[in-house]
């Protein structure tokens, strides 16, 4: 039997990615599934569909419902919520720093802290100073991390990761992909995706 595994695709600008980022680690542990955090740029995928901003901005009724739904969902989950302004925020630097961080033991906690900065405390993740602040809460040397995030190697890795997401059929965030080629979209599909990853491993 292969070890159950799931890829968690997210964008720091994505509202429902916040919910998943806060939920996934304990649920995956309970389900014995190893999760890989995979930041990508949803904006690039939206652009390929001809959208210049979030569909939540393009379609006002959809957007209004999303904000209310998010508020209700956060209340149900006991998560603080602060509507980010502006929305969506440019998540390019955040994603690059996350790629560097995720090579380290504190990477997933960095991602959660950055999501909380944006969606619980209303801080701007497109502000390099905010990202540096979040980094500074970890017991690390922040300068080399920020330098690495701006390197050509990391820029290329983020581009490749976004292209991989698109190749796998990802069109929104959060999404989940399994080793046997299934794609699940949305925070609501976290539990089914974990169940699938488990069943797929049992059959392999």
């Amino acid at each position: 039997m292969a070890a159950p595994a799931l890829d968690f695709w997210f964008d720091f600008a994505s509202t429902y990615s916040y919910l998943t980022a806060m939920r996934i680690t304990p649920l995956a542990e309970k389900a014995s599934v190893r999760v890989r955090f995979r930041p990508f740029l949803l904006g690039a995928i939206f652009q390929a569909q001809g959208w210049t901003t979030s569909p939540f901005n393009l379609y006002p009724a959809k957007g209004r419902n999303m904000w209310r739904d998010l508020e209700r969902s956060c209340a149900d989950l006991g998560l603080p919520f602060h509507r980010p302004d502006p929305f969506p925020q440019n998540s390019l630097l955040a994603a690059r720093v996350a790629l560097v961080a995720l090579d380290q033991s504190w990477g997933e906690e960095f991602c959660r802290t950055l999501f909380r900065a944006e969606f619980a405390h209303g801080r701007r993740i497109d502000d390099a100073a905010v990202i540096a602040d979040v980094l500074a809460t970890f017991d690390i040397d922040t300068e080399p991390v920020l330098a690495a995030a701006r390197s050509d190697a990391i820029k290329a890795r983020l581009r490749a990761q976004t292209e991989e997401a698109q190749r796998l059929g990802v069109f929104g965030a959060p999404s989940f992909t399994t080793t046997d080629g299934e794609l699940f979209w949305g925070n609501d599909r976290l539990e089914p995706a974990l169940r699938w990853a488990n069943a797929a491993a049992e059959q392999s």
Copy 2:
């Protein structure tokens, strides 16, 4: 305390409305919530957003995921599934007949039977003969029902119902609205909507 109530907005062409139509009645009974079945024309609301067909057709990656997700969801729920062709189907006559049927005791069962004809058996709900077939499975005189469905009064009622949906912020199907003005969108929100309807009634 007011009696807990929830409006269930659906379109017969909508894939996830099939799942909700099959699930809602026992869940609502369990939650002691009185549900009102409210067919409307999602196509009219899509047109107002500038869409000429379903977003599942406009955005291929989104569409591919929906079909696969529906297949998996039906398997999880033990529901048969047959992908309708063409998609979406014109649901105008179906909605008009449903409006007539829902004034009768067998109306909700008619809706479920029509959803099954389309999504479990692959029959065309834009075909008047199929609708007549489904009606004929009930112990009723079908001709007056079909005649009423084609009356100006029912045509006007469906238009008014679709306008009411739009006024309530409905932008997709299924949707749920509560007496205290909440809107929930999607089959995934059926349980939270029932919980909300119950809590709202307790507070009123």
